[in-house]
């Protein structure tokens, strides 16, 4: 039976009147990739700062690998790696020196960290640039170096706070590949506002808003939480789209209807309503009727009432 690597119980953080995190409960299984989604200001960074012992909660408790974040901070920091939102690379040290400093701060022996750093630089495709300063790197390379730094001491839990923010799509996919390659070897806790990133990488996803956990589960489980409504896209061949859109819009089983040129998207109460639609469209110049897959974004919007913002 898998055990929990990260546990949060009734975690609350208040700044005077403002509550950034409220009675937050969470369990993350060992070796899994866990994603935390939420709009800006939802409390994601507050949660990650408490879990990484950078901040103390006002109430509640949190455990990393069974260790209490309030009383066993040093032991926790020994077994976690953190990739923060900000680029915290030391621009006055070379790529290799950045990793060496981190290893020394972790109390690693020189013989041990030398080999480990060689491996990581190779793995991250930075071996040829190890003597260069981070300022001369592209955004993607800098991010890979930050990930490498977080992995030097072979952590059991890796925290990634929006690891691909600001990266171009190609670099983002490269970072995803590295994260995927780590799956199973350590627990990965990832915050992101890229829904595709969460969908691609995470075994389980939690959605939070206003400091509260509002949903948790696998991508499919979260999609299944949406109401029974189904969405179809109807593509017309001729010019009847307007007329048929008006007709469909007047039907009681249609919850929502949108039209873009000759494509009409209808949201039905349930999939059984499709037969009524097909009957209504009898003789209409229809090229195609297709079922639209619900996305994580639909889930996110339905739960938070807003789109994810960068």
């Amino acid at each position: 039976m898998p055990t929990a690597s990260i546990i949060a119980r009734s975690l609350t953080k208040s700044y005077g009147e403002l509550t950034a995190l409220e009675s937050f409960d969470l369990e993350v299984e060992q070796g899994s990739i866990f994603g935390l989604l939420g709009p800006n200001g939802a409390g994601k960074t507050t949660l990650i700062r408490i879990l990484t012992t950078l901040m103390r909660q006002s109430r509640g408790e949190a455990f990393i690998e069974g260790l209490d974040t309030r009383s066993e901070g040093r032991a926790i920091r020994r077994m976690i790696g953190v990739v923060s939102q900000e680029n915290s690379l030391d621009r006055y040290l070379t790529a290799r020196e950045n990793l060496e400093l981190h290893a020394r701060l972790h109390g690693m022996e020189k013989k041990l960290y030398k080999r480990r750093i060689d491996e990581l630089l190779e793995l991250m495709g930075l071996a040829g640039r190890q003597k260069d300063f981070p300022d001369t790197f592209s955004g993607g390379m800098q991010r890979r170096l930050v990930v490498a730094r977080a992995l030097v001491h072979q952590p059991r839990v890796l925290f990634l706070d929006e690891p691909t923010t600001g990266l171009d799509p190609q670099s983002r996919r490269a970072v995803w590949e590295y994260i995927r390659s780590l799956a199973g070897r350590m627990t990965i806790f990832l915050t992101t506002h890229y829904l595709e990133e969460a969908e691609q990488l995470c075994d389980r996803i939690a959605i939070m808003d206003h400091g509260r956990l509002i949903a948790i589960g696998s991508t499919q489980e979260l999609k299944d939480r949406l109401s029974g409504a189904t969405v179809y896209e109807i593509e017309f061949t001729g010019e009847g789209a307007d007329r048929y859109a008006a007709l469909l819009g007047s039907m009681p089983c249609v919850i929502d209807i949108r039209q873009i040129e000759n494509k009409v998207t209808v949201t039905l109460e349930c999939w059984e309503c499709l037969s009524e639609i097909v009957t209504a469209l009898n003789g209409a110049p229809v090229r195609r009727i297709s079922l639209q897959e619900r996305t994580l974004e639909d889930v996110f919007i339905s739960l938070t009432g807003e789109k994810v913002r960068e």
Binding site: R56, R77, D90, Y92
Partner: protein, 251 residues
């Protein structure tokens, strides 16, 4: 316990080694200009001060000023930069070292900068000016220079911790740090102050530092009370620097 401090201090020294030449040129230029402008240029107008030519009077103060200024500047700007710009303090904090180890490292870095730069300026003044002192006075002088650099390094760490804007750091330096140095009798004897002011000026640790350092280097005179005053100030500012940094990090 201080493994983290050692690692961060070694990092700072590694960076200093890379830029040592440009750092020293910048550091030497300022006191040397003052020495040439005031010590040499004004000497014939000023005559003897406390029984010594003016250039001899200001030389120990300039060396001390370089050391403490370097210690203060390194601590304040380095801590501010690593905290607010480069976020390296955050990256240190997620490793298994304590917050105290970080701040102690930064105090030692500032202190080291002060000692190195003070020493180099002393060498340059010694090499290119007629200023001379008996070598046996050096030990007594170090009893002031070492705690003086530590004092200003701690003060720099406090400023770099509490101030988030660079312009505030500049203002504090102009309004507080430089006046404290200049008021402590760097360019004139303390006897120039009106009697009502002198007891206040003497209460300042910077006065004890500059006065004690000058007398130690020039006359080989030991001022135990002044040395004690400086040392106690170091202790207090060290405790304050560590406490304030820890408090700031817990916010």
């Amino acid at each position: 316990m201080l493994r983290g401090s050692l690692a961060i201090w070694q990092r700072d020294m590694q960076v200093l080694r890379r830029s040592i030449f440009s750092e020293l040129v910048a550091v030497v230029a300022y006191p040397l200009t003052i020495y040439l402008a005031f010590g040499i240029g004004m000497q014939s107008y000023i005559g003897l001060v406390d029984g010594a030519p003016y250039s001899m009077f200001i030389a120990p103060g300039l060396i001390t000023m370089t050391a403490v200024n370097a210690a203060y500047n390194e601590s304040v700007w380095s801590l501010w930069f690593h905290r607010r710009v480069q976020f390296t303090v955050e990256s240190y904090r997620v490793t298994p070292i304590s917050v105290s180890e970080i701040v102690i490292a930064k105090i030692f870095t500032g202190f080291t900068h002060g000692i190195i730069k003070g020493f180099v300026v002393g060498l340059v003044i010694f090499a290119i000016t007629p200023f001379r002192f008996p070598l046996e006075h050096l030990l007594q002088y170090l009893l002031f220079l070492i705690p003086g650099s530590a004092l200003f390094s701690c003060a720099g760490v406090i400023s770099g911790t509490v101030m988030d804007k660079p312009e505030t750091i500049g203002k504090v330096e102009a309004v507080l740090v430089m006046p404290l140095i200049f008021m402590s009798g760097l360019f004139f004897p303390l006897s120039s102050y009106p009697p009502s002011v002198i007891s206040w000026v003497r209460a300042l640790p910077t006065t004890a530092l500059f006065e004690g350092a000058r007398r130690a280097l020039v006359a080989g005179e030991m001022m135990p009370l002044a040395a004690l005053q400086v040392s106690l100030s170091v202790l207090l500012t060290f405790v304050a620097a560590v406490y304030i940094f820890r408090y700031k990090m817990s916010e």
